[in-house]
Symmetry: C3
Subunit: 137 residues, 3 copies
């Protein structure tokens, strides 16, 4: 069994940003030499998400508006009594999910025609990491 | 390490359908010959979900009503400016999750007494796929 | 490829409880002898969740209040016509997610600085299980 681990770093300019990372994940898988297996792509910070969906700016706007409605910023969250102001970011990342497992077949990402891997930052403007861990043969 | 990949095809009659696929996943695992490992079951289309929950029609109705409330159809989503009309399906699938990893122990699915694997279609009436990727020894 | 499986048992005093299980997962991984791989941590009951987020009581309170708002108890759910009274627990666990995959690097859990693994019980006061399945080399 082969195993290969890399970390992707992000430092967004805006507090909230959605970034497509399919190509970066594919490059890690190619460097791993794994032909059949799985790649775990997982946010290492708890106010960011990793998810799979469409690469279409309108839909990304719909996601952002929807998340703001279901998990609004600026409420008197208890978490803020610790001095934090990002409780909504924890909730938003929970809705989107914090990790995906990408299947690897014949050395490539085995994704459907519209599947793209995204990193969703909800409390950015600082350095944060995503682990990409590849396992297989 | 053994690896085995199959694809399940769906072509639902209704736009939204929830289909139990535990038996199909079990059959793939049996064909894989894997005794100890994991099976990734992942929707390859971005308006469908794969999730684990109860096989009870009332609860499935509750899920559908709940999803309609949290991610309603028929709103002026930005995604619809591209000619699409399914933004709500993208949101609904995000709430349910698009993949599960099923543990395999002693050659069988290691599920709790009520765990069932479901495919949830939110924009059907066309051919769509789910990948089942088994890894282990 | 090595594989190692253990089950964590829970019997909460309250109907709803959030329990940190990072140390229990770490101990299973250490017993597995796996140096590079993944640990699947998955609730085996369909009214409980396993998720990764912050170990901060205020935030846990925020999560609980938020879940009650998005998936309230005490509504006339169809599932309750079967004699059950826990449909909201099925919905809440769906929002939080029922499983996580924890990467293992150099024999330890490869988690970010604030990542903690939690078991979230939404219909407790009885014995329930979580599977921890470790795969790797």
């Amino acid at each position: 069994m082969k195993s290969h681990t890399e970390y992707l770093w992000f430092h967004t300019k805006k507090r909230q940003e959605f970034i497509r990372i399919t190509d970066e994940v594919r490059a890690v898988v190619e460097r791993s030499g794994v032909r059949e297996g799985m790649a775990l792509v997982s946010a290492m910070h708890i106010t960011a998400a990793v998810y799979v969906n469409d690469w279409e700016d309108g839909l990304i706007g719909d996601f952002q508006e929807w998340l703001e409605k279901l998990a609004p910023a600026g409420r008197p969250y208890r978490h803020h009594q610790t001095g934090e102001d990002n409780a909504d970011a924890h909730l938003k990342r929970t809705l989107m999910g914090h990790q995906v497992v990408v299947p690897i077949t014949d050395g490539g990402l085995d994704l459907g025609p519209w599947e793209q891997v995204f990193y969703a930052e909800f409390d950015g403007q600082r350095r944060k990491r995503v682990i990409v861990k590849v396992m297989g043969g």
